[in-house]
Point group: C2
Chain length 444, copies 2
């Protein structure tokens, strides 16, 4: 074989090609750059798997590559490799680079705190979070966040397509909208403020200000001492609020359209991620088939399945209801609506018999959405605050939204990490947060 | 004229049409819903301007509309009106609704704290923020946030088109990346943490983890006691970070592509907002013509223009430089690069003679971006920390990003509110924040 000239020069920063594009350059001299994912020295030939943002490609050396001092190139070092692309049925993707030249851009220290190139299910959650900067390098772990980025993208796209406007509201609030519990206090110059539990007040305000249909993608904070696989203290809330609804059923309709659109987008953009996690997404027809049952019906169904009296739907109950929906309706998801008033925040719109126009969406055994119609009448809202032991005078900013003409409206919120967890079947929601915050962990 | 049947019934919640779509329904019986923006009773005929999320339309009544008790319908009340669409050259948009039926959905209290239907330039900033829930109803004020939503949208779209992945990183950090000053403390269970000043650490970590090119749209916090038209204590930071760059010039190239793409998107989506504010956007050719000058050249230019010695580029200097660029290059924007090391954070990549590979973008007299290449070599970074009086041992999570192979990289951040302010020519950045937080204000 004739020895080709390297037309792109690593040191000069020439155009590189990505691992996934090798097949388009067969026979050409190319430059690839990335992380040394794995190497295998067979004596006389050494295979290096090079990882970049697009995937992994095989590079073949005559002998194990070394640095200038003759030391072997360590795993995770960042390198540039010039070589020629050749077809090889045994290589990942069917092509490989036959190396002619190597530059070590950034040498990795030899002892990794954990293996990057092995199945992350071997790792404990604690090890994964303790060495987060390294564990995130694992392609399967990192793919969780490619999916998450696509969720955020398609959430916004579908809503924009329905005429919604994105808002960004403050996360520093004078007091909690739902009472004062569960709030993190912030030392704000000479006073104390709190981290917002949700953008509830602000999304309602922006509906009433005339946007009518808004969404927000932002952090929400819960100072709760939970330490469970489904709780984190800081999470991304995908919030939706819309005007001119009649009841919570309009919101469930919207959420079904939203999820169907999001799932279609994810199926298209994230096929590899879904395959890596052996995850499947419901079809549009399945989403349209999600049943709606009242809170009373849900309690009765859980009682029947478990043989126990049921007051609240606990995590076990959520699993029971989703399993039943899967068996009867072909999708492991169910809307539960009509929650009793005492179980929902003060701003929830009351309906008959001490019920409310509220709902949860349970999906694959876990609550991923809570929502409902809100009280839009000033006097009713003041009355409800008093019933809940809140002081209307302390909430005059909030009340001014309703004093001057506010349409009927409602909304819901989806927890981004929980949705990610549920889609991929992750054991803990903490795996679906880049840098999760829990009671014990605020690093890295 | 024959009296038509109202085919859509307000009380029954039938399909409404939006104000902007009137022209497509001439002669038809329709339902419109929205806020009473203005009314004018001419005796025998009363014009009501009805505002909805799409715009404003005229509704004609035979006499001033009243509620059931005979009181006039108040401004800002939310109503549903059934009527027939007719062409009228004098009406906004060329069409009007001849009302047959009115339903008051939510009556507004009669005394508004400030006028919603007047030019907001009449209001003081203080009044505007004090009564934020009402001042945001003004269509021109609200339009600021329609533009802002479009900025966020196109920022993400352009970057996704270039292969960037969106990330969401924690805003609760154990310590400041740039020393401990200017941080808000949070009472986090039994310890103190801080609100992040920027996602700097995390975006670098995600580049090094293998995403290579990331962006984040999130809140950033600065506990600075500034009270100026260009500072707020909580803002939305549009953050970008990318691997495999050679110098800050690659980042300026990227920002020029990004701004050109964003401006094209805004020009298409926000023509009405720009017209309302009499704002224009630079063309792609103008953005491509943004000059690049060194910090030394910038100082000399300001000194020449002002006749004073110049050490730092202050706000006056920023205006001088933008004016000069406008005169010489046809766009009031300039990149200033090569800042001295003492003026940039410890992680900035050093270049010759105590300079750094850093830059700012000044646009229309104001800094809207700061960025640069970052140190990606572990030993250099440790050395730089020590020079800046920081303790490497206290930053071991951050350092682990660099210990195990990190490509050359850099990035920048654009302040969303400042960019909005600059595009629309707003007097204060606080006008470009829905619920701005400053030293004195944490409400509503």
């Amino acid at each position: 074989m004739e020895s080709p000239t390297i037309v792109t020069d690593a040191a000069a920063g020439g155009d590189r090609i990505l691992a996934r594009d090798l097949g388009r350059h067969t026979g050409a001299a190319v430059l690839v750059r990335g992380w040394v994912h794995r190497h295998r020295d067979l004596g006389g030939v050494c295979f290096v798997l090079l990882r970049d943002r697009s995937g992994i490609c095989q590079v073949v050396f005559d002998s194990a590559p070394t640095d200038g001092a003759g030391n072997p190139v360590t795993l995770e070092s960042v390198v540039a490799i010039g070589g020629v692309v050749a077809a090889n049925r045994k290589a990942p993707g069917g092509f490989e680079v036959q190396a002619r030249r190597l530059e070590i851009i950034s040498a990795a220290a030899p002892e990794l705190p954990l293996a990057v190139n092995q199945d992350p299910s071997q790792l404990s959650l604690d090890a994964m979070l303790e060495h987060r900067m390294v564990s995130l390098r694992n392609p399967k772990t990192l793919s969780i966040f490619r999916l998450q980025a696509a969720i955020v993208h398609h959430f916004a796209e579908v809503l924009r397509g329905e005429g919604f406007t994105e808002i960004k509201s403050s996360k520093l609030i004078g007091s909690g909208t739902e009472g004062g519990t569960g709030l993190f206090a912030v030392d704000y110059f000479d006073r104390t403020v709190y981290l917002a539990q949700s953008p509830q007040l602000y999304k309602q305000a922006m509906v009433a200000a005339g946007l009518e249909q808004v969404f927000e993608i932002g952090m929400a904070y819960r100072a709760e001492k939970h330490d469970t696989p489904r709780h984190i203290n800081e999470y991304v809330s995908l919030d939706v609020e819309m005007a001119f609804i009649d009841s919570e059923h309009d919101l469930m309709d919207l959420e079904q359209r939203l999820l169907a659109g999001m799932f279609a987008g994810l199926a298209e953009d994230c096929a590899e991620v879904l395959e890596a996690w052996q995850a499947t997404l419901p079809t549009a027809a399945e989403v349209a088939a999600i049943p709606r049952i009242t809170h009373d019906e849900a309690r009765a169904a859980v009682a029947e399945a478990t043989g126990r009296r049921v007051y609240d739907i606990n995590p076990e109950g959520e699993r029971v209801l989703c399993d039943r929906a899967a068996a009867e309706h072909g999708i492991g998801a169910v809307f539960v609506y009509g929650y009793p008033r005492r179980k929902r925040p003060f701003y929830t719109y009351p309906s008959d018999g001490n019920r409310t126009m509220s709902f949860d969406l349970l999906f694959r055994g876990q609550e991923i959405t809570s929502g409902g119609r809100r009280i839009n009448d000033y006097a009713t809202l003041v009355d409800s605050m008093r019933r809940f032991g809140l002081d209307p005078d302390a909430m005059s900013d909030y009340l001014s939204v309703f004093r001057y003409g506010c349409p009927p409206h409602g909304g819901f919120a989806i927890g981004l990490e929980r949705l990610t967890q549920t889609i991929l079947g992750l054991a803990s929601v903490k795996q679906a947060s880049l840098f999760p915050r829990d009671r014990k962990r605020v690093r890295p």
